[in-house]
């Protein structure tokens, strides 16, 4: 007993010293802040990257708006946003923007007797439901798309996000493209003036409200809908085909976008062309300074993103995200080497 005590004390001192020296090494870590939608995958990548290289990444999920403010104030190495900045805005603040990860938004409903993926809906009808113009599930517009389903007369209860969110941006952006009435009356943003319905906080809030309200319809991230086995709807895409939301249909939407011809990668993947494209797909973006103050951490950040493009796909699949297609990743790498510099030298060398 008495011999043990000094040993334990020594061990404690060693552990303390070790943790202090480790704390010192952490100063070289990469820091980022922004969108909450990609938070799970960024932290999963960060953990794996730390194991491989010893370099850590600290990502704060404070929301896209916060991420944009933080990167403009230069308090972080990179910012993350679900809503791409306009090319002019990027130019004004000396920022570079590139897509990092893809996800989808799916409408979910709670109708008695309807199974997941059974009901089909198109953009204009979805917009009319969220405008409060289509009020009952047996409305002609819904019946026409689903001639074989016996739809109940129950009232439609609209559920939307109450917090500002990239999910809401993708959803309202799609509705603006699909319906002129939505575009003129509501528009697209991370938060909008909803004409009807109730607001619930976060994906879990929307899922819960939809689940406990008879006749409800809402929208959540695909990963959330899949993991919680919600009753999702199929959608008619731009090509007029009914598609299921899954990683294949998100990938098709991403592959069909004109990444090369859009300055600042300001591509919004909603309402994409292609027979198998899911209509409400979107990328989450990273923002960095063209001439970063802290060139060393910026170079480390680019190395991390390069590694994520190369080896992050399996992890993305596990969490139901979709990795960027390789051809898009190559375009992004080119943009890095041509645009992000320190003292006239590029921080990233494209292979």
């Amino acid at each position: 007993m008495f011999h043990l005590k000094p040993v334990m004390l020594k061990a404690a001192v060693v552990a303390l010293v070790a943790s202090v020296s480790l704390g010192g090494a952490r100063a070289a870590d990469i820091s980022g802040a922004g969108a909450s939608f990609p938070y799970p995958i960024y932290t999963k990548w960060a953990a794996a990257y730390k194991k491989e290289t010893g370099i850590g990444l600290n990502y704060q999920s404070i929301g896209s708006g916060g991420g944009i403010k933080q990167i403009k104030a230069k308090t972080v190495t990179f910012g993350a946003s679900d809503m791409p900045l306009k090319a002019k805005d990027l130019e004004d603040s000396g920022l570079v923007q590139f897509p990092m990860i893809i996800g989808g938004v799916v409408p979910v409903a709670n109708i008695k007797g309807i199974k997941p993926g059974e009901l089909v809906i198109d953009g204009p009808t979805l917009a009319n439901i969220f405008l409060g113009k289509v009020k009952r599930w047996n409305d002609e517009a819904i019946k026409k798309l689903n001639p074989d389903i016996d739809l109940p007369k129950s009232a439609i209860a609209v559920v939307h996000r109450s917090d500002g969110s990239g999910t809401t941006f993708l959803f309202t952006d799609y509705l603006s493209k699909a319906s002129a009435a939505w575009k003129s009356e509501v528009g697209a943003a991370t938060a909008v003036q909803w004409p009807t319905g109730i607001g619930a906080k976060g994906n879990e809030g929307v899922a819960n409200m939809t689940g406990q309200t008879d006749g409800a319809i809402g929208y959540v991230e695909y990963a959330y809908a899949k993991q919680n086995k919600l009753t999702h709807l199929r959608m008619i895409n731009k090509a007029g085909k009914a598609v299921q939301p899954d990683s294949a249909s998100f990938k098709t939407a991403a592959a069909n976008a004109d990444w090369a011809g859009t300055p600042g990668f300001e591509v919004i993947l909603t309402d994409a062309a292609g027979d198998n494209s899911w209509p409400i797909t979107g990328a989450s973006f990273i923002l960095m300074h063209k001439n970063p103050q802290d060139a060393a951490s910026a170079a480390e950040a680019l190395k991390f993103f390069d590694w994520a493009f190369k080896s992050g796909e399996a992890m993305a699949d596990e969490l139901d995200y979709v990795a960027m297609p390789q051809n898009v990743a190559d375009l992004v790498r080119k943009a890095w080497s041509s645009q992000i510099q320190s003292g006239g030298k590029p921080l990233f060398a494209a292979q």
């Binding site: 909450s36 404070i62 929301g63 896209s64 708006g65 916060g66 944009i68 809503m83 009232a155 209860a157 109450s162 917090d163 500002g164 969110s165 990239g166 509501v186 528009g187 697209a188 943003a189 991370t190 938060a191 909008v192 003036q193 909803w194 319905g197 109730i198 607001g199 619930a200 906080k201 809030g205 819960n208 409200m209 406990q212 309200t213």
Partner: protein, 326 residues
């Protein structure tokens, strides 16, 4: 402050030579405590200045219209504070309407009627209720209380008052479960411990001789409470109520979960609404653009002013009570 300084110097001259050595440390102590007090004032002033500065773009753009407009449109950047202000005031009003009688009832029971052995357990339970974090109330409200409201309470209210003129509008619409009424009821539970604790304490300040005299004259417990205890403690009770109201006005997380977060003003209290703090909590992280952010800060300033007024009134009431007790 001059009085204070004069007293100190007068005391110093009366001291013997040896203790004069301590005079500088006394002054230092005086300075330290003074600066601690001034620090709070500076902090408060700083908060007001920061809020004013942050909110200025919104007030400059919308002017007085900000206070009376119901529009809240981030797309066209048209903002008005009427829906959050009315939601804040209505939920707090209903919470007070239900919370005050219950709290005072508990306090009367605890001080006048309750057997001695039961006073401590009930008192501790009330204090524990005050210690529950608001997020717990929010989650409980969303997952347990809202479904209960949706299945049992709201359909009952809608059906019962269907043919009553004004009440049919007050209890109209589909039973969503969440909404203004649900938020108000959660708030009621949350303000109970605050009002109860203060009211119980002031009830205990009533001199036993007054109550015994009243009982001696043949008064019932109700008459003693109504004509002796309440008049004697009136001001303190109001102070406690104001503290509860302050909490109800500023409560964020629990309300955000169950109010429905819709920027509309309904005639029906079953319908969804929003409050100032819920709006800020919901939208601040993703607010892009100067006017949007400034409008949210302006909401914060309005809430600050409302709460400040309420607490100032509470302080004033308590001050009067203390003066009378002395």
């Amino acid at each position: 402050m001059t009085d204070c300084a004069m007293n100190t110097s007068a005391a110093n001259t009366r001291r013997t030579g040896a203790s004069r050595w301590f005079a500088p440390s006394d002054k230092l102590f005086h300075g330290l405590t003074l600066s601690a007090a001034v620090f709070v004032l500076l902090l408060l002033g700083g908060v007001i200045v920061a809020l004013l500065e942050g909110a200025w773009p919104a007030f400059a753009k919308f002017g007085f219209g900000f206070l009376v407009s119901q529009s809240w449109n981030p797309v066209t950047e048209q903002f008005g504070a009427l829906a959050p202000i009315s939601g804040t005031l209505i939920t707090s009003f209903i919470a007070m309407l239900l919370g005050i009688p219950i709290s005072i009832g508990i306090a009367i029971f605890l001080t006048e009627i309750c057997p001695m052995w039961l006073r401590r357990p009930i008192g501790i339970c009330i204090e524990l209720l005050a210690g529950i974090p608001s997020i717990i109330f929010g989650i409980w409200g969303l997952f347990v209380f809202a479904p209960f409201m949706q299945r049992n309470v709201q359909p009952f209210l809608i059906d019962t008052f269907e043919d009553v003129p004004i009440l049919s509008n007050l209890f109209a619409g589909p039973p969503y479960g969440i909404g203004i009424l649900t938020a108000s009821l959660i708030l009621t539970i949350m303000v109970l411990p605050f009002i109860t604790a203060v009211t119980r304490d002031v009830f205990e300040t009533v001199p036993p001789v007054l109550k015994e005299a009243a009982y001696g004259l043949g008064s019932t417990t109700w008459e003693v409470t109504r004509y002796v205890v309440l008049p004697y403690t009136r001001v303190g009770v109001v102070g406690g109520i104001m503290l509860g109201l302050g909490r109800a006005l500023g409560e964020t997380m629990a309300v955000t979960f169950v109010i429905g977060n819709a920027h509309r003003i309904h005639a029906s209290i079953i319908g969804p609404g929003t409050t100032i703090s819920a709006t800020i909590a919901n939208e601040f992280t993703e607010a892009v653009g100067d006017i949007y952010t400034a409008s949210l800060v302006a909401l914060g300033l309005i809430l600050f002013l409302i709460t400040f007024t309420v607490l100032a009134i509470a302080r004033y009431m308590l001050m009067r009570l203390n003066k009378r007790a002395a």
